[in-house]
């Protein structure tokens, strides 16, 4: 099963971090990604440009509106992601906990919908409590 690990952190941390420290964290990221690849759990992963480069697009009544910045202003911003293959949530949590930014920011772990599987995977199920 695929999980998307969304990396949220205060992007200004990177601006204020001493050069040696940011290089050390980048080194950790490379090592983490290599480890993930060799374990066969890696599907994809990217780092994102800071939110000042973001543009939000909406279409309302057929008209495109374009605004500067991210959809919502938050203390921690989406800075990158890993798409991983894991057996279950526990394994995905273990992977997420090893992402270097987990120590500074937070990682949101989201299961990916598999449309080839049961339709109930979309969360619509007639459960009885």
């Amino acid at each position: 099963m695929k999980y998307l690990c969304l990396i949220y952190e205060n992007e200004r941390n990177w601006e204020t971090m001493p050069k040696e420290e940011s290089e050390a964290v980048m080194g950790e990221y490379f090592a983490f990604t290599d480890g993930l690849r060799s374990s066969g759990r890696y599907v994809a992963g990217e780092a994102l440009q800071p939110t000042q480069t973001a543009t939000t697009v909406r279409v309302r009544g057929g008209k495109v509106s374009t605004t500067d910045g991210p959809f919502a202003e938050t203390k921690e911003q989406l800075g990158g992601f890993y798409l991983v293959e894991a057996n279950d949530l526990n394994e995905a949590i273990q992977i997420a906990a090893r992402i270097p930014s987990a120590r500074y920011g937070s990682i949101e772990v989201r299961p990916v919908v598999d449309f080839s599987q049961q339709p109930e995977a979309t969360g619509q199920q007639a459960a009885t409590a």
């Binding site: 299961p111 599987q117 969360g123 409590a129």
Partner: protein, 419 residues
Amino acid sequence: MAEGAANPVHETVAAVFRAESRRVLATLIRLLGDFDLAEEALQDAFTAAVERWPADGVPSNPRAWLVSTGRFKAIDQLRRRAKFDASLTSLVERLGDGVTPAPDVDDGVEDDRLRLIFTCCHPALPPDAQVALTLREVCGLTTEEIARAFLASAPTLAQRIVRAKGKIKAARIPYQVPERADLPERLATVLHVIYLVFNEGYSASSGASLTRHDLSAEAIRLGRLLVELLPEPEAVGLLALMLLHESRRHARTSAAGDLVLLDEQDRSLWNRAQIAEGTALVEQALGSRRFGPYTLQAAIAAVHAEAPSAAATDWAQIVGLYDVLLRAEPSPVVELNRAVAVAMRDGPLAGLRLVDAILARGELADYHLAHTAQADLCRRSGRTDDAIASFERALSLARQEPERRFIERRLAQLRAHRD
């Protein structure tokens, strides 16, 4: 099963249901990989028992019979549904033909109950859902019973449970006892859920008090089950803590339903059997040398329990235990309790200095018990006006009726004393 009382086999089925239904459910969840499917299968298995046991006789291993019957019924049901919904075919295939019993139907049953507890208390589920799901699945309470106990509406509770089950399925929360490395953190969540259930039943003493007492009993039952399945020191410590608190239940409210503080309680009303059991468990947990906050709190409760009166309590030992507890789990509430113990050991002014310092930091400014403690220490130091001011602040913050009545009583006494 309405006419069951007259029929001995029906009585047997009812008794087996009470004793085994949660274990059977725990195993069915593992075999079927789905909570709702397992609950349906459980019902089907007991319906089959009512139909067949009178003629066939009660099987030698009723639990194993129920598990394999439930599993068979579930697969049969799924196969019929798969005719209309092709997406179920792979699930049916995965579960096997349903005729040959799964090899491990009766093995690791205790593990299944532990799996169920850890899954219901998974930290990826919201805390209120952990509590609701544990009471529903592990304890077998109905949604209505849980709603009554937590003064919530049944639809709200039902939705909480449905959402939690939905997340277990969609995010694939595994049906597992956590690995050794994850155990301390995961066990802490389980213990927290049990303690929440206990406190919900213990601290409420108005309105639906009877139902809520049942919650404390349910928490103690859960604590016993956990200790039986996983005798970790902190699980033992939590069970001890709950028993030692529970032992004072009948002494902590007056006949009129008013709160009676520890130092004014009639200690002959304390339940000696629970104290003896709790104290033995504390010693067991302390002996492990791997104990934590629950064991330390239980040790403090045990020191109170063995004292013939408040004055004759070993306050020096209690202060010492609070010191260790503060190191293990720093918290302003623990500091406050320690300050009250210091007041008993060294006099009210020594305690008051500590309480004033804690309140000055602002962390407990909205916590009514901090103001009650300050007020009481002022009262004992003869500072009547300060005591009245603090009790008034406490009254503006207290929410529970018996606590409010207690503060009002104290205020009335102090005002009469002053005038």
